[in-house]
Symmetry: C2
Subunit: 471 residues, 2 copies
């Protein structure tokens, strides 16, 4: 049980501090009294839950397999069952809404919407053991510590599961419905990608997670949302930082670009008589990269298909994805508008830098854009960010500046949707080589625990802040 | 029946000449006595045989469907049966070899290997009504005219069928075996592309075209090979030319290029930390086009696949076909060697023109080349070319210079293989918009007849030349 009071342990030198972080039984010097997460227990929870939906083996170690736990699959059901049973045993009241969002609430001293730590348990088809899973297990670890140490908090505290969205064709769809950003019916009727016939509603029902609670922020209000996640990129590791204090999520816009030329024989058609859709697409992809660099944005092509697809036929049609991202909406739209102008010019043999030079001018192509998914830039809540920052300071002491970095999330998360309705922010921890959505995804036990520690501290700080403000 | 003698019709003005070309009953001014092909009969043969293996409909007209008559299919068998029955009825001796090459020989006054007009009856899966079919039907028309007009030629004359090769994974495989360039066993064991289990030998046997004649230029020698074919490109049409006098076939080399980088998340990985295989491939494709222009060669990418293929994942692997072609072997190898040096540099962020400029230097990729199919440049036989040229002159009179063009074939044909063993050349006729390997492929009745006329005249000229040389 926690004895309240200011700890006055002398500041440990860095090497010692690390060992402190690795052992859960000792408490760190701190400006507020907080308990310590149990690193070993957290690590065990993460890998215990990974028995359901094991993916590709990539090493010989016990934990060296990836994950393939698609949303609403049988393995997903088993991991959800574990979450429900575990949180119930920790005296939580568990509720499931009509989108399968699962809320495990621990009572506080006061009435009011709970302060939440949440993420998702489902994975990519060839995913790893940390994306989402770490955030949920850290929430469970928070509940375990609160229970074990018998901590009183002001408002109810909540750990929950949202949805990753690799199986049905909208990402974070369950938090999106909760936030009123996606209609329930549309979400329920989503069919599996890859040819399956089941709808989301059918699968929710089949696995027993079509809850009776309305999937809505008004039916199930929360006070704030904190999400711990692996960074899924290389920036923390590159600078040997331990915690990313996430300020928001960059805007992105996903497009499908179709370039149409004309099929012709590669041997019999000279360059001047071609409408080469592949060559034109190659120029566009290179240009999108250069222009994104100029605008301090990102541009990526992850899908490209061409037709008819024969070595000796110049492709008449190329279709490619263009994912552009930027920290600010205006900057991103500036990039997009310039790309639209320039792609048209590239297709019509007009000058864009030197792209149409040095080769042979052909007959030109046409280009069409279809916007598949727009997402505006998100700025997280200042108070939430401050709580994360203070918690990192508490954990790292004087070294906090050299061990943390403020950053923008490059990827979307459930927190994007929650931020539409409640104060939200995120905590990032490093993942090895920045690798994610890959069986080899890895986050060290120490980094997992650091993240869980900052998560719990931030939830408790925000809880305290709410009480202070309520007077 | 042909009345021999020099025709002395006054030269027709061009517009009138055209109408002369369009009617088969009249004879054109000529320096040697040659009969006239029957345009209507040829046109009927072409479209009669297209009842077997009808493809996609692209227009409302009777003949406005494409062809899908894969080699050794049931529809291919029916068209082969037609060829055998028709040529037998024209007093030909028909022999089939172990690769299904079918030889219909009309006796000449002298013993000796026959002078041949040949092409193929099978088509691409989404092919048209003229590629190959025109050449075979023109050979049959030649036999019809010789029979009808009771023409005596010196050496036996032959019309034959080789093989296109869209179903089994080597093009022109049957003429390749005949020419001793492809081992019989290898050809017999070829399995269908696209997952079918049948071998070529099994299918030859099934449709009754596994002949007893040895598939070899020594077992079935021929004296020369002429092939009429649609151009499959736009050059004749662009200059309003009617006959292409083909000098040879350009060299080509087909490669598969594999670029390897690393999968990463499009949102969370900045440009500097990427190994973007798609961006790298785009630079290579653009560079191959520019460098081919400089070397007066061709370069084309008709297949590109990437992995893993998700909008928000930067592809770690891109594999693309690179088909390079040129009129001379040395020039083509010069291009290839420069591309190998430059692709390596592009992948490793070294300067190649400005390709790696204007963007962000990432972590680099690797690049691997695999040579799939090399084919050296072919120069056709001078005497055969001269016979084609003289025949065109005979057909067009004074206008022949403005109606013909000498050209190199961009595509491979059975004539590439026959040219290894016997004097060979080809005759091209225009096809609409240069379109081929497409249901909409079109060659006008007049152009078909012009080509068939030049083919027959060239065969008879070469027959005469052989006799003169034999003394």
């Amino acid at each position: 049980m926690l004895t309240r009071g200011i700890y006055t342990l002398p500041r440990a030198p860095r090497s010692q501090l690390r060992s402190v972080l690795c052992t859960s039984k000792r408490r760190l010097a701190s400006c507020i009294q907080t308990p310590k997460v149990n690193q070993d227990r957290l690590w065990k929870d993460i890998h215990y839950t990974c028995q359901w939906g094991k993916g590709e083996r990539w090493g010989k170690g016990e934990n060296e397999t990836g994950m393939s736990r698609l949303s609403l699959s049988d393995s997903d059901r088993m991991s959800r069952d574990w979450f429900v049973e575990t949180t119930k045993s920790l005296n939580c009241n568990v509720q499931v809404d009509a989108m399968g969002n699962t809320f495990a609430v621990r009572k506080g001293r006061q009435q009011g919407p709970p302060t939440c730590a949440g993420s998702h348990l489902d994975t990519q088809p060839t995913g790893g053991r940390y994306d989402g899973i770490l955030g949920v297990c850290a929430g469970v670890e928070m509940l375990r510590v609160l229970q074990e140490e018998n901590i009183d908090h002001e408002y109810p505290t909540l750990s929950n599961i949202n949805e990753e969205g690799a199986r049905f064709p909208i990402s974070m769809v369950s938090s999106g419905v909760w936030a009123g950003q996606i209609p329930l019916e549309k979400a329920h009727n989503l069919q599996e990608v890859g040819g399956g016939k089941q709808t989301m509603r059918q699968e929710l029902q089949r696995i027993g997670y079509l809850g009776t609670l309305e999937a809505n922020y008004e039916a199930m209000p929360i006070g704030a949302h904190f999400e711990l996640h692996i960074e899924q990129g290389p920036r923390l590791e590159a600078r040997n930082h331990k915690i990313g204090i996430v300020q928001g999520v960059q805007a992105y816009r996903w497009h499908t670009i179709t370039v149409k030329g004309r099929d012709c024989h590669t041997g019999t058609t000279d360059f001047a008589n071609r409408s080469d859709a592949m060559l034109t697409a190659a120029k566009m992809i290179l240009h999108s990269h250069r222009l994104a660099t100029k605008h301090a944005c990102l541009a990526s092509t992850g899908i490209l298909t061409l037709s008819p697809g024969s070595t000796n036929t110049v492709p008449g049609t190329v279709r490619f994805s263009l994912d552009i991202r930027g920290g600010e909406d205006d900057r991103l739209m500036g990039l997009e508008n310039q790309l639209k102008t320039d792609f048209h010019k590239i297709a019509h043999n007009e000058a864009v830098d030197d792209l149409n030079e040095g080769g042979t001018i052909g007959r030109g192509c046409t280009v069409e854009w279809v916007l598949d998914a727009p997402s505006k830039a998100i700025k997280f809540d200042k108070d939430c960010i401050q709580c994360v920052q203070d918690s990192a300071k508490e954990l790292f002491g004087d070294e906090h500046e050299s061990l943390t970095q403020t950053m923008i999330s490059g990827a979307g998360h459930d927190s994007v949707f929650t931020s539409h309705r409640v104060p939200t922010s995120m905590i990032f921890v490093p993942c090895k080589d920045g690798v994610s959505h890959n069986p080899m995804e890895y986050c060290s036990p120490e980094d997992c625990a650091n993240g869980a520690q900052v998560l719990m501290n931030a939830v408790l700080r925000y809880d305290k802040l709410r009480a202070e403000r309520a007077g």
